[in-house]
Symmetry: C2
Subunit: 469 residues, 2 copies
């Protein structure tokens, strides 16, 4: 017997899985559409040259690359002496949704509106070592607004994500926000040289995992100056305790934004090089102001220790967490340098990415899917008495479908017991029996598969009766 | 500047494309769900061993194969002397939806219901030479019912496809049906040896393209006996003329099914080896009978010359055509030998595949998309006066979204003229202006972007007013 498993790290989605996924994706789409975001889909396969050198060395290694075909490949193999795998490949599988977006923006710049707001929900592929919750094929769910530097964009993105999460039933999430320029100011104050700041950010980003002491140790182990580390960790400690004390998020945010609330503020007020620090403070203030009338108001929390791992952010950054899950369920930020990568101009952009696979995992664990979510194949099963009467069963099926019911016709004239057993297996609530007696009397027997109750109903009243039930 | 086109033969779907595709896919899903079919999704990437030798030599050549990764590949390259491309690859992209279905049926046989009815709408990849309407990434849209040999299954599949096509607005299509066993009987009668019949079918399948004379020539050129060719082409000619004369499809079907309507029938009645021929006639009769109460009745036409190219069909075959398109827009049939390929037992199955890309092409050419299909990004644009008043614009946006409107907020405080220009570019019907005057008076100016009409409305009446418009 052959191996019939899906490929390593990939998943089959059986009907119940697809239905749950489509439920979540449906809500995401609906909310994004209400905010004026439009759907985009790009091909699974991209030219290798589009993707290489975009994701760092690790990305190039984890990319699934496609073998050249036909003569091109035959010639290579015949000649022999292939040293580099790139001689064998010309295409690769989509690795994220941001590089394809940048390519689309460059390729259709005359067809796209001045401010292009798109959402994209498609799988990506990474040849990572599979682990719990980590797959080699997984969906990304990105929303990006391109073309403006105004904080109105950040505010809209945050509001949309809040609305999605609430519609999905999350009530206990926090959207932490910060700015790369706040962090940069903090590092300026701590006298960390510009060249080392990206490294420091990667370490600070581990706060959730390794705690304040862990960060301290790792910074020192990476040769950051003792005084710099003291200032940074003092800042973070102060921020964390303010964050934990906060009872009303909106009030807390206003407090953090006041000019002398943090140790960094005190340092910064004496430093003339910190314009971008103060600008970032003002920008966070705008985000708080613009969202104060939306439901986002109570979910937003400024956290000046929030770092985010990725290097490309240039302004505001966001991360969404729930208490019972380590790691974020969504994140994003402003990245003004990336979307223009295929053109000559810098194009401002802000994006949010929802962790669809994680959201599904948490919803499953918490039992958050609605009770009325369709999980079975049909509302009603119609039985088949024999080949001669099958036409009558199909006729009834047609009528009930006209009324909007999902109707399964048992596919062959087996014994009635077998047909009921199948009805139980596929978990339909009602079976309609059209036997010889019923056909002679022009009735249908409706059987409640849960209770076993049966009743005979006049043929023309069946859909009415089922609607009632 | 880098190449920003999608890879050869692949397509980007911009928002208007995605919306049209989702509209069609939505109708397909809805109808299949009403017939008790359930959604299935399988991974893009399959183990190479799952796919090889399943699609013939051509299939193995057209498959996109994925390069091995990491040490596995490095070792191969270092050792050198690679003769066969299969040493370099372990995975490949999905080539159709049938082999993955067979794998799923074998892999989850204890979890799936006795009769598994699934639909699957996912892309597949083939390294074919791209041409008009032929892409290297394209969607297949398959529905299959597994586990029964009864013609009830064929009837249900045909009814579902008819309902889908009608819901999409097709009124002029024909579903031709035949059986491989009718063709086989015809070839028995014409004394064509069993071993040559598959070849003959491939030639007969070209009727639409090369006509009766073309078929005659090609059969003779392929060394079929003159008398065999005479009988076959006589049959086909007879069938085609009956088909063309038919005015009422249902009456015509009954006529074709009567025992001596075709030359083959006459031969067959004298031949004892033609049980399966007569069984096939009876089966087509059942399909016609079972669908006589559905709207499928008027679209079905028996065509005993219908061959279908694929070799795996074992019983009924179907093909859907529209007058203004050469080639079929859907097709399928019974293939009892294929789904069991990964197990030990034969598993009966009937399937239908809708040509999604072709259907979209024809609908586009004919202008069949509904007028009210969403094509723009939003219903309303809300302008921004300045940074101080932006919060008010966002507040209004939130209220209108609550009412179900799709609302775009202009993302920055540009001059009003620029904001209107953008409203025109994204084709919204209304713009809401909240300027200083409006804010002072607690009103909103609603501008009809098509007519240029403007009116001032009390702030609290805006959603009501827009709903009216």
């Amino acid at each position: 017997m052959s191996n019939t498993n899906p490929a390593r790290g990939m998943r089959d989605f059986l009907p119940a899985d697809v239905r749950k996924r489509n439920y979540v994706i449906g809500i995401i789409r609906e909310v994004y559409e209400k905010y004026g975001f439009e759907p985009l889909e790009t091909p699974t396969v991209e030219n290798l040259s589009t993707l290489t050198n975009k994701y760092g060395e690790e990305g190039d290694q984890l990319m699934f690359k496609i073998l050249k075909r036909g003569e091109k490949l035959a010639n290579k193999l015949e000649k022999g002496g292939i040293k580099n795998e790139n001689e064998l490949t010309d295409l690769a599988l989509r690795y994220d949704l941001t590089v394809p977006l940048a390519r689309v923006v460059a390729n259709y710049k005359n067809d796209l509106p001045k401010f292009f707001k798109r959402y994209q929900i498609q799988p990506v592929w990474r040849a990572d070592r599979p682990a719990r919750g980590r797959y080699r094929e997984f969906y990304q769910c990105d929303v990006d607004a391109i073309g403006s530097k105004s904080m109105i964009v950040e505010a809209e993105l945050i509001s949309a994500v809040c609305e999605i999460l609430q519609k999905l039933g999350f009530l206990d999430f926090t959207i932490r926000i910060n700015s790369r320029n706040i962090l940069d100011g903090m590092m300026e104050v701590a006298d960390i040289p510009k060249a080392n700041r990206a490294n420091a950010l990667v370490i600070i980003d581990k706060l959730d995992k390794i705690g304040l002491n862990g960060i301290k140790k790792e910074l020192l182990a990476n040769d950051f100056a003792v005084e710099s580390v003291r200032i940074i960790t003092h800042q973070i400690e102060n921020q964390v305790s303010l964050l934990n004390e906060a009872t009303n998020n909106y009030e807390y945010n206003l407090q953090i934004l006041s000019e002398t609330s943090t140790p960094a503020d005190e340092f910064a007020s004496n430093n003339k090089n910190l314009n971008s620090y103060w600008k970032a403070k003002k920008e966070l203030g705008e985000i708080v102001e613009y969202t104060k009338n939306s439901t986002a108001r109570k979910f937003i929390k400024i956290d000046e220790s929030l770092a985010r791992g990725l290097s490309y952010y240039t302004g505001a950054i966001f991360e969404v967490n729930v208490p019972d899950f380590q790691g974020s369920i969504a994140g994003g930020g402003r990245y003004d340098g990336l979307i223009g990568m295929f053109g000559k101009e810098e194009i401002p952009a802000v994006g949010f990415s929802l962790g669809l696979e994680r959201i599904l995992l948490i919803m499953e664990e918490r039992g958050m899917f609605p009770n009325d979510l369709t999980t079975n194949a049909a509302d009603v099963l119609i039985t088949i008495w024999n080949e001669e009467t099958a036409g009558e069963s199909l006729k009834l099926a047609g009528e009930l479908r006209q009324k909007g019911l999902r109707v399964m016709v048992y596919p062959q004239p087996d014994k009635l017991g077998k047909q009921f057993k199948y009805a139980d297996q596929i978990d339909v609530e009602y079976a309609c029996v059209l036997g010889e007696t019923e056909l002679a009397e022009n009735t249908v027997q409706i059987k409640n598969m849960k209770t076993g109750d049966q009743k005979n109903v006049a043929r023309e009243k069946v859909s009415e009766e089922l609607a009632k039930l």
